[in-house]
Subunit: 437 residues, 2 copies
Amino acid sequence: MAQPRIILVGGGFGGLAATKALKNAPAEIILIDRTNHHLFQPLLYQVATSVLAPSQIGFPIRGILKNQKNTTVLQGEVTGVDKDEKCVFVSDADRQDIPLTYDYLILATGATHSYFGRNEFEEFAPGLKSLADAEATRNKVLQAFELAEAEEDPSRHRDLLTFVLVGGGPTGVEMAGALAVLVKTTLKSNFRRIDPASARIVLFDMAPRVLGPFSEHLSQAAKQRLENLGVEVRLGHGVDQIDADGVVVAGERIASKTVIWTAGVAPSPAGKWLNVETDRAGRVRIQKDLTVPGHPEIFVVGDTAALEQDGKPLPGVAQVAMQQGRYAGKLIHSRITGSKQPAPFRYFDKGTMAVVGKGFAVLQSWKIEMSGWVAWMVWAFVHLQFLATSGLRLSVFLQWIWTFLTGQRGSRLIVDHRASALKRIPVREAVPATGGK
Amino acid sequence: MAQPRIILVGGGFGGLAATKALKNAPAEIILIDRTNHHLFQPLLYQVATSVLAPSQIGFPIRGILKNQKNTTVLQGEVTGVDKDEKCVFVSDADRQDIPLTYDYLILATGATHSYFGRNEFEEFAPGLKSLADAEATRNKVLQAFELAEAEEDPSRHRDLLTFVLVGGGPTGVEMAGALAVLVKTTLKSNFRRIDPASARIVLFDMAPRVLGPFSEHLSQAAKQRLENLGVEVRLGHGVDQIDADGVVVAGERIASKTVIWTAGVAPSPAGKWLNVETDRAGRVRIQKDLTVPGHPEIFVVGDTAALEQDGKPLPGVAQVAMQQGRYAGKLIHSRITGSKQPAPFRYFDKGTMAVVGKGFAVLQSWKIEMSGWVAWMVWAFVHLQFLATSGLRLSVFLQWIWTFLTGQRGSRLIVDHRASALKRIPVREAVPATGGK
């Protein structure tokens, strides 16, 4: 008898956890991702601020799974799902909409940034979800200092050296802190006409406090810390306008050449592919076993799934994705082998953390609340733990120590990819769709 | 009295050596480069083959020179020189053709790759001169394996897994060796449908041997080593055609989706800017003091200069550029301060090396010829020595040990920059040209 085929879409925290949970399953497993790497998104802001190189938070998925012989990794873009025929459609650089049939499907397709319907902002305020995004932001930030230094007229320095972050969640706060440290340490003595430390960094959020998911006490500590680092934190107003010259907030224009979007997220189109019920944000409503109602063979996990627990929706964080992925993998394994099925999914919240600048983090776990350098040590330790390979753990650890001691960052490069933009291998003439079992 | 102004164009080996030699000069020094980083070009092939991250061979020029207070670093593109008015024209993302006057000018603008008049080859066979080039080549190489793995029909694997290198100089040989090791070690066990070790790697050169500048004996040793690694070395024929389907050599078509150009170089347009005599390749003919005839204030050094010594033209290598740069800097310093001027420039050739695969290099220095792992240790030691900062030396050293022991490479990423391509800060309306003293 042929082995059942399990298709997983997405090599992020959810998809990877699910795949690993299926390590010993008697099945043919195919993991599809649009990139070749598992990305450690929580440290993306450190690539955007030159601390880490892209390769320190991105590792080839097939390298991680090389010893898992029941699993094939494919780089491709999923474009749709046919629930009735039980197949997904995949495109790669060569071919379009190749159908691949499945017996079980796990969608772990994550989220991207959302401009809340103001997509025209994207041109002026790029978001931060992929390595390419982070490198583009890094280019933009470093380029602003280059332009200011080349500008002999000091009156023109102001808007080049104003950095605006839109969104005061963990990404915005961590990014603002890292920028503030960048201008005060790494860039010190590097310029002759400008003083990088004079750069203005402004963080906006429409909420009355930063780091919404944390306690008020910790929000306040984070805000205070940002202000000590010289960041202006402006709360209670959304951004009305973003254009080439800056932002408009509550009627006031702030001239800035560098605006970065660190606000909302929107789920992947998994809900549309499946044509099933979603929540208001577009996340697929799943059941306690993480399957889609009426389709016990389709699982949705992570940021693209909506599930309530104790009357509250689970947050879109890595921990939820990992625990859900692992659960879905185990459940499928037990179904295939006919062994005892696990109890309904329950999220175990270990706590949450955010780093603010150098040597300071806020941490909230159960009844514990902490801010300061001990929280920062815990933050560093936990993040190192979750990197994909021991090589990355060692490399990031050494880089952090180096940066802490010397102020030097690991990857302060402006690389203009327009000229050498990925020249794809040309698309062949259409070939008969293969796939299936 | 105002200090004299020295403008240096190019932050490569030559320009950086010249700038450092002017460390104590009572002058206003401006170093202009089109990128923000000094690039260690000899290791560019290791970025293209995933061993090193871009940030391990590229370091911000202004970081290197941060303590040299007489020097301002500007990121910009030089577009021309006016010898009579003694000014260079510089463009940046914001402004066009800003004139900057000089008292002394050092052009160290290097070389780019040349397609010998067949520029239509570039689309199909990218070269290797910048970090963006190296990352594009890395994308292309890794993408070929991804496409082959996604291809269920084995008959289509062949051309995806054929890699052609055009040019058997040091870059071609080092690249071929690194590719051969990549497919046999790093990629091992990573794929299910293809065997990466079965990839075909073909190196072409129209010369009768690889590594022309080396002795025949060492050329033969390098060729033998490549063949032991499984590389096909085909000599004595140029490539007649390169297109989307591969190359044609001596009437034979070799199907390949990945062709890489590792052949000729062409100098920068410095000769055109200056409108002075050049050699056949376009390099500026300079005098024994490295100045342009009739212009004792204009120096040209490195790959873009032509100078004979003992009846033979000096080669376009890093050593020549560094020694010339240092000489030009010292000569200008002595002229400014009225101290004793150095004797005419004389190149001191320390020798040359090339690495072939893992644990093997060829080395030629004076009467010494060596091949094998001792030469490789010397190669590694010397290359580490010349990296720009102690941080890079440590980081590359650790990466090499890690790669040697585990077969893992440091940066095996495919990053598609098309969507997030550098969004430049929009060009402002033209501003009055400033500059001058």
